[in-house]
Subunit: 219 residues, 2 copies
């Protein structure tokens, strides 16, 4: 896969900007579970995912987490360059959920071209609109959707991503994705088990009634 | 107050864009409590607040609300033009909290200039970053801050905005701002009253211990 195919407004950039980007773009590989950005690591730059899976999340003062978005092949991680975005006033952390390979454009270069190029500026604005939409969806979920449905939806999503009914995710991990406490997840999974939706064992959760779990998630 | 003083990137716009905007900008007045945008009213356009106070909020299927942001003099309401922002995928509603006077730029014109002008595109991107920051703050509040502190903070904010210790806000209004139920607010205010923080009477809430209420809010 070529970088220029994955950079969405590539054809609209001025030739000199294209040249500058090609000269400075680099690739990096990260093992699964690496925190590649957390506001203390310095400015990572503008990231395009070549392969793998990343998640962006925030952390409370007490260390509780909630997943804000996930990124897959060809996705753009703009908030890893939030240091150059003047009006971002929160700390996001980004970690790899699988072994990942990414392209990185240095932050200063990206910022300069963004200032000069209307297509790139509009593209950044669109990504911000998407993130804002993601986060608004999340607010609705947190405020108005019951946790049993959120856990069911998360299990179904994981099952699709991993392409298996036997998930190796822990209760702690589910809690971190959903912004809740481990005990709450454990209690809910026991509940699911007694209804025959899943089978919980040490280190794994098996979906035993996919149809009803999906119904609960979508309901 | 002149429109050109309140439009933040005015000096960076091309003269022909300035002329086009000046020819089409209009002013409108809205009485307190008017819903000026809700996704069904058609595209309002890009709004700059000349005077008054607006709030942006979302509504659940069951009719519950939560305030996402508030706008004051000179603030920009970009989401009232969300119909021209391709990547906004949620419905926001905007209503006046006081009698308000706004400037409106027609949506099609704003969209065309945004496509051509790097300064305007970057400005839109910055507003999106601010809104994203607002909403991330809100998520942290909802997830990790106790409701008593959120209600205390809201009462303090209202007191500052209205410049009085005797608020005429209803329990229903507070619930709508904070995304919770009226009964929950009523119970908490009774709690505050028994601790001597406020005095609740029909149609008003009087702050009787400003210092301790502020401490609770900030704690």
């Amino acid at each position: 896969m070529e970088f220029t195919e994955c950079f969405p407004v590539w054809d609209k950039l001025a030739p000199e900007h294209q040249q500058e980007i090609l000269r400075s773009v680099s690739t990096r590989e990260f093992k699964k579970g690496t925190v590649i950005y957390d506001g203390t690591t310095g400015c990572t730059g503008f990231i395009v995912v070549e392969s793998g899976q990343l998640r962006g999340f925030i952390v409370s003062e007490e260390g509780r987490e909630i997943t804000i978005y996930r990124l897959f092949e060809r996705d753009i991680c703009l908030l890893s360059a939030s240091c150059i975005l003047n009006s971002i006033q929160f700390d996001i952390s980004i970690e790899t959920e699988r072994d990942s390979r990414v392209w990185i454009i240095p932050p200063e270069l990206f910022q300069r071209i963004m200032k000069e190029s209307a297509p790139l500026a509009n593209y950044v604005s669109e990504i911000m609109q998407q993130r804002l939409s993601d986060v608004m969806w999340l607010i609705e979920q947190i405020l108005w959707k019951r946790l049993d449905k959120r856990i069911a939806a998360f299990l179904m999503e994981e099952s699709t991503l991993e392409d298996t009914l036997k998930l190796t995710t822990t209760h702690e991990q589910i809690a971190r994705h959903l912004g809740t406490a481990r005990e709450v997840v454990t209690r809910m999974l026991r509940n699911f088990q007694s209804e025959g939706l899943v089978k919980v064992s040490r280190g794994s959760i098996e979906i035993t009634d996919e149809k009803r779990l999906a119904e609960l998630a979508e309901d």
